[in-house]
Amino acid sequence: MAIIEIKDLYKEYEIYEREGGLKAAITSLFARKTKKVKALNGINITVNEGEFVGLIGPNGAGKSTLIKILSGILFPTSGEVKVNGIIPYEQREKNAINIGVMFGQRSNLWWDLPVIDTFELLKEIYEIPDSEYEKNVKEFSKLLAIDKYLKTPVRKLSLGERMRCEVAACLLHNPKIVLLDEPTIGLDVVAKQRIREFFKMINKKRKVTIILTTHDMGDVEKLCKRIIIIDKGNKVYDGELERLMKRFRKLKTVTFRVSDPNISKSKLESLFNEKIKNQKIKLLSKEKEEIKFEVNSEKVNTSEFVKETLSKLPVVDFKIDEPEIEEVIRKIYKKGI
């Protein structure tokens, strides 16, 4: 069942602009030039209950704008959005009960007070029943290992400790939908791991629908079955992460280490002339003893290519790599899909 529906969503911002210098500064006192910036350019997304969706894209792609519209704190320019049947920006307070929002760069906690005080305030704000509140605090403290920090003032916690408390804070009221804007930003490996496992559990056991924006491909790889890539306000990919990877996985990188550092690039090109011409392989780089090829495994058998190279070059060592998710994403950001 669809829990989030986004149809033809547009969002334009108006920003002031002026050139540098005194003259421009004075002119801008009287007449300000405005420029329209498109943050979202006709987005369509449907998310079903219980899905874990990764929303990725380069900086300024429109991810945060989308999260803010879903949380009801931003009005779209046009389009239709429904979150659990509610139009978030028209019924902000009603929508707020169903959602849990976490902005990784902002704090939900009361800076000067022990964490537990914020939890108790949230209990009142969301009118969480006693039994449910106690059950959640107990369970989350255990899973996130925060029980020993609950009585510490927030300002005395490390980033990792604080973030774990933030995560608990945004889930105390059992939201149906959780919106996470870069929840693991700036965290060390251990803290990241813990937070990821927690979200995974919440998604699986409680059937909470989660939308996550991140720049950390590790988050996406570990958590999201489905990813949505947006770039310059447009949706460029929406589907299984696995399918996207498959598309790029046919391109393998083969690196050879040779005993003779003086083999020239042109010599290599002539040696593999036919394959390069037919786009079966591509010479990526050649630095001293190290030579890198990209092999399209759909057009040429990788093992045959290796065999051929072994016979043509004085190879000492070699390795074959599949593209990492980071690399795939980088390629998409650069060239599109």
Partner: protein, 262 residues
């Protein structure tokens, strides 16, 4: 109740800054002392019994109650609101099922609770040290009520000024302007009866006198009988008007905020 809890949290947050509050308290005592000296000097220098209908003892009481009201209500809350808007805390608040006006009001109330206790102590000290006038019975009760309305008025004014942060880069200009108007026309500095006719008329049609002049005059029993109810009625009238204006400002501000993003 969520707003009661918010008040408690703001109170707990505030008492983390104990030293600041104690210094503020000492400053209040010092200020009271200076004002007593000042008015005593003015009266003896001019060798008069009354100025604009105030005896020295009444004038001292007036000045001290005015200082207490000023200290009582932290009167630059608009900068806290500006921080909420500019630093992005508003974004987080808006993701919650809560009304921002009452959120801020609870926060303001909670942050002032400890000051109320200090001001009460300062008041007791003033009663003994400077033998200021103390109203009794129903007058004290009506004064307290009038003081609460004045408290609400201060908040609405801060809210209106704070809302400028939705449009302006900086609210110091607006804030300072309104603060000067308040200083002049509220009677927080000198009683409005000291003013020439023209200025007094202006003061009477502005809302600021409802913040200081009216409650202090009730305290001093310069306003008595049914006039007290008229004074309180004027205060309530301004409370409603300023509340509506603040609401309108907040509504428009949030509209802008939610179309621009935090």
């Amino acid at each position: 109740m969520k707003y009661a809890k918010l008040i408690k949290i703001a109170f707990l947050s505030d008492i983390e800054y104990r030293i600041y509050n104690i210094l503020l308290f000492l400053l209040t005592l010092l200020q009271m002392f200076i004002l007593v000296m000042l008015w005593s000097a003015i009266f003896s220098w001019n060798n008069v019994e009354t100025i604009a209908g105030f005896t020295l003892s009444e004038m001292i009481t007036y000045a001290i109650v005015a200082v207490l009201i000023t200290q009582l209500w932290e009167n630059d809350y608009e900068y806290n609101l500006e921080d909420f808007i500019k630093e992005g805390e508003l974004t987080t608040i808006l993701t919650r099922p809560i009304d921002f006006f009452f959120y801020a009001f609870s926060n303001y109330l909670g942050e002032n609770l400890s000051v109320i206790i200090y001001s009460f102590i300062a008041w007791i000290i003033a009663i003994f040290a400077f033998s200021i006038h103390v109203p009794i019975g129903i007058t004290l009760l009506l004064f307290t009520f009038s003081l609460l309305i004045s408290f609400f008025l201060m908040f609405t004014i801060s809210m209106i000024i704070g809302c400028f942060a939705f449009w302006a880069e900086d609210i110091h200009g607006v804030s300072e302007t309104i603060r000067i108007l308040i200083l002049l026309f509220s009677g927080s500095f000198i009683p409005l009866s000291f003013f020439p006719e023209g200025l007094r008329i202006i003061a009477n049609i502005l809302p600021f006198q409802a913040m200081y002049s009216l409650p202090i005059l009730i305290y001093l029993e310069k306003i008595t009988g049914t006039d007290i109810f008229i004074a309180i009625f004027i205060q309530i009238f301004w409370a409603i008007v300023l509340y509506l204006v603040a609401r309108l400002f907040l509504k428009q501000g949030l509209k802008r905020f939610t179309s621009l993003g935090g």
